[in-house]
Symmetry: C3
Subunit: 483 residues, 3 copies
């Protein structure tokens, strides 16, 4: 399946080289170690080596890092012939996005002396922003070229940073786990891009837009890492002490409750009562999304479980009943169902956060109030206006995501990036060497009909487990029998 249009020989290297060289130059000009990573600055003041924030953030960072590369990467390998692209393009765009995000977030969140200061917190924030891009990637999975995805990443990271700046810096919104900034933004941005890139004839590759047994097993690796490390994700940049501790705990209970409601709903909505891997792989994670804003608040385990329980139900219902409607009515082909995993649960998380914030009192939070709600704490705004701000932030995020996705979708639609044809969507071999092809070419067995068959067997096998070429082999076998 070689196609001059999708040939990446020049497009991809040029894009990667230009982007990386720009990044290196900007890093050279703008980026400096912060005082916790700089040898001179750190040793200037008097403290224990063990006070370095590395020891209190880096384990959380590593968990988040695993979620970004293994979690998102493998979650998307459920497609039968798109494993290389799922995990490989995830890897590529994440590696770009985290560098660009460091610059964009550093630019918006306060440069000091004209310099962006980096340390473990900027690494976590960059990974968070990357997560948002990967959510959008889920909506367009299988239908885009790597160059298109790199273009999307550059623009989305920029808009993400603007939206995050408006929320966190201008409005004083609380959103530690990113129900709004990461999940809602990433999902609706991606859905809008998918809308613009709508393919009326996508049915041509419908047979590849589904899973096979082993691809679902690989996807479960992604699911479980996301599920296990979500408590680290939501707590990674909250205030130290009780805040990180409580956020992790709340998320843990939310996810556990969500898992039970997901299994229940998956069996209940199937005619034959059988569980659907799509639901398990995705909806069981909705509890983490929905606890993204309120997780750091005094939501209580009880509240967290209710949130998770409802998020699982909503998410399965979305996969079952809403996704088909989105496709047929709104022309949004959402490959991974990010609307059900990140969109609706993200909105729900934002609402839960607004309500929980508006109920905050000094009674409940004691002196911890200033950690969770710095704007409310001393003698700032009232809790109910914090709640109002939270609600407004959701609206802002939705607006930014929809308009941003629309614009970026049109940029991505330009016919210059080597997007696949309708018939070759969801297919690795467009952009990847798929191994056994070479074998076949180099195999020295070629002069007897039996040996031809042998190489065919190789070809098919080796290819994709995947005896796809038996369609060639067996007729030949039978023909030779007849002769």
């Amino acid at each position: 399946m070689t196609d001059t249009n999708t040939n990446m020989r020049l497009k991809l290297p040029i894009t990667c080289f230009i982007l990386e060289i720009i990044l290196i130059i900007l890093f050279g000009v703008l980026v400096e170690y912060d005082k916790e990573t700089d040898a001179k600055k750190w040793h200037h003041s008097n403290h224990s080596e063990y006070d370095n924030d590395f020891y209190y953030r880096y384990p959380s960072f590593q968990d988040v890092h695993v979620m970004i590369f293994i979690g998102f990467g493998f979650l998307m390998t459920f497609l039968q012939r798109y494993g290389f692209s799922s995990v490989g393009f995830n890897f590529l765009i994440a590696a770009l996005a985290l560098q660009w995000a460091t610059l964009m977030q550093g630019f918006f969140h306060g440069m000091q002396g004209g310099k962006i200061h980096v340390g473990v917190e900027s690494m976590i924030n960059a990974d968070f922003c990357t997560g948002s891009v990967l959510i959008s990637f889920g909506a367009v999975l299988g239908k885009t070229s790597p160059v298109q995805l790199l273009v999307m990443a550059v623009f989305e990271v920029t808009l993400f940073a603007v939206n995050e700046f408006i929320l966190l810096s201008l409005l004083g919104t609380r959103d530690a786990g990113g129900s709004m900034t990461i999940h809602t933004f990433g999902a609706y941005f991606g859905l809008m891009v998918a809308r613009v890139l709508y393919r009326p004839e996508l049915d041509k590759s419908k047979h590849k837009n589904s899973s096979v047994y082993h691809s679902d097993m690989f996807a479960m690796i992604g699911t479980l890492y996301l599920w296990m490390f979500w408590p680290s994700f939501n707590s990674a940049i909250t205030a130290h002490g009780d805040d990180q501790h409580r956020t992790a705990l709340n998320t843990y209970y939310s996810l556990a409750a969500c898992t039970l409601s997901t299994y229940a709903m998956s069996a209940l909505t199937a005619d034959d009562g059988k569980l659907d891997m799509v639901h398990i792989q995705n909806a069981a994670l909705a509890g983490g999304v929905a606890a993204g804003t309120a997780g750091e608040m005094m939501l209580t385990p009880f509240g967290s479980m209710i949130v998770g329980f409802l998020a699982g139900i909503i998410s399965v219902l979305g996969y079952k009943y809403l996704s088909p409607i989105l496709e047929s009515k709104l022309k949004i082909q959402d490959t991974c169902g990010v609307h059900n995993l990140h969109g609706m649960p993200g909105v729900m998380g934002a609402i839960v956060g607004a309500v929980t914030a508006s109920l905050a009192t000094k009674e409940i939070y004691g002196d911890g109030l200033k950690d969770v709600f710095p704007m409310v704490a001393p003698d700032g705004r009232s809790a109910s206006s914090q709640g109002g701000i939270q609600a407004i932030s959701l609206a802002v995020t939705l607006g930014m995501a929809l308009v941003g996705g629309l614009l970026v979708g049109f940029i991505m639609k330009l016919p210059i990036y080597g997007a696949p044809s309708d018939a070759s969507c969801f297919e690795d071999s467009i952009y990847w060497e798929v191994s056994s092809k070479k074998l076949l070419e180099t195999s020295k067995l070629s002069n007897s009909p039996l040996q031809f068959m042998i190489s065919l067997v190789y070809y098919t096998e080796s290819d994709y487990f995947g005896l796809t070429s038996f369609r060639f082999v067996l007729p030949l076998v039978l023909l030779s029998l007849c002769l």
Copy 2:
């Protein structure tokens, strides 16, 4: 393979919803943040944010969490057609068990003011208890419905908490890594359940009760995560400082030595000298189990290596010679061989712990004695009576596990949970949508014997490895036949 008996459409949702709603109500009534997770309580006293136990337990918790969901989940994916159920039911029952364990352990281990206080330590303890349930799951793997497993989890968690209370609180037993409370209890409980659920005609599904190449690869993911993180498991709830450090170190050496003896024994006991994946996947972990009690003691690296070395030998011999006898003589069909991985090494670990405890002196432990043996330390019981208590604890645990497993086995045997028939054991498609099934149903071929063959091919193959193209192949075959 749709069957009204195994149809989960109502059974599973009803069970999940009832259990989760009960859990939510009980959490609402009984559970509170502890003083390290509560905003008010934490800020009430004067300390650094960095003193929060989150920073000294959470990394261990995350390692344990990975062992529970990835470790146990993927270890059991070795069966050729049971990957979805292995990792999926593991996920479901673990999510239930950790919530129920929080309540049960909180109830037994001291409520304050009528409330259960939760934080990272209760998360670790809940995961530990969950581990015990998953060990029992290994004994009945492939022969039980998800509803049966949920029922087992509820009862087993309860009995686990009772046994743990007797040992740790009443007797003052030391068992940080759970050789007794987790491994011995989980294994013998599961074996007893397997005995009660004995299926004389299980041979009917014998061809599915084995691995294929790639399923063994998935299982190795589980094995390695268990192996790598076992030092974190054994040290997760020991006293801080040297105790956690030493426990991790001892477990590391025990596992390394165990791995060498496992490979040696696997080759030695095979007629053709070939290594058996079953041994590598399981017996190499026995060193972690066997260091579960004595790991926190001054076992020394030397002692740890001897323990691991012997555990590997015992475990391989168990797989090779004892498991067949258990099945034929005692009618215990132990799918994963939990007797060899958790049962015997657990008992061995308990004995090693008793001996090591009885040898403890102030000479060796110095002021650290009070951390490891609080009952011995100040002017409490003698070391040898601590050793005696450890031995008694093993007997108590075995008794609780066997009687508990017997009773719960009979509860699970009630014909209301949708257990699979003998012929459909070890088969995912009973409880899961397996992707290509739908293809089969929508295929319009249905009335000739040859088409029976086609559906056979579909069912067996495509289902599992994406041989979707057979729908092209076989028609061609048949056409050529007709010609």
Copy 3:
């Protein structure tokens, strides 16, 4: 494929048992807890439990541990029929090497009172040394018996410890992430062994020396874990505080830049512009190797990105153009291309380290200079002589690796270890029970050419993907044909 020569029934158990018993005896005689793991010593002095180094090194250790067992293990599973051996022999020799390394490194790096003191730092160092052995394993992957590999591990660990002693203790070289001690040493040692073990007729198993679709997916698990945790690897044993923090940060940016240049070069060097999994799996990691020496220095994010960017380019070019030359001209059959992933990037890292060291000033490092360059710091050697020492260290390492590899290669060449024949290289079933093989053997089909085809199908398929039901289908097809 049973062969008396490769039969491991006695060879492997004898080797494992002798080695492990020697290890246990030496541990009994020589090894003691250090003061952070010993109950008495730790409680002798007055400090907080939280000051124990466990809390500041163990999370890094666990990340390194995952790289060794999952990272290296799965990276090498790319071969189509060598997954069991890749991950299984990796497991075996790592378990041996870490024990032997504890002794060797303890012996060279300062015994106190005739005893080797162990704690988390010795665990990290042992894992590092093990990494070097696993790099060499990559060069000879598929062509060696497990006994040969154990012999290699014993000698290589010893030479590694000598080289490390010369560099770190005698010369005062800085090499925290092991560009020289681990990567350069492991790669050139392995290449030299591969040279000595050159097999002119390896073409006989050429068809198995390549990947298939799913084996590339498994390999990506290894790649990503190595990639994600490399910041922890490089920072695991640097000084505490800013040093660990900075090293992790530098490595993070180096890897991100390397990923972009790898994708660019992979597409650019392919005739059809398609990405090659070999490059993605390996070259994207070169940025971590190349930041191994300078990572702890004030390399800056800018410098790190340039290093990573170039490392990716060099590594892809190596895979594409240099590896074939190494094989045809120098007779080095480097299965995993360790020269491209560890060799050249390691040398590059050493040079970058020498240059960065020679540019170190009190101006830049402030009081942190003594942490990074203890020999330079107070009034020691000049920065430029530190740079010179770094360069000399590279030469020493290359010499030790090449001479050591030559000698050990000849030891490994002795025809007593059960090495595979040329035709049975890259084949698991030599050393492992492969499940469906038994099926084939017990199948009663054996005397016609058609049955040859059937067994061919069996062998290629069932073996590896569980298409066991072909034994039912094909005979039926053929029977119906005869009728």
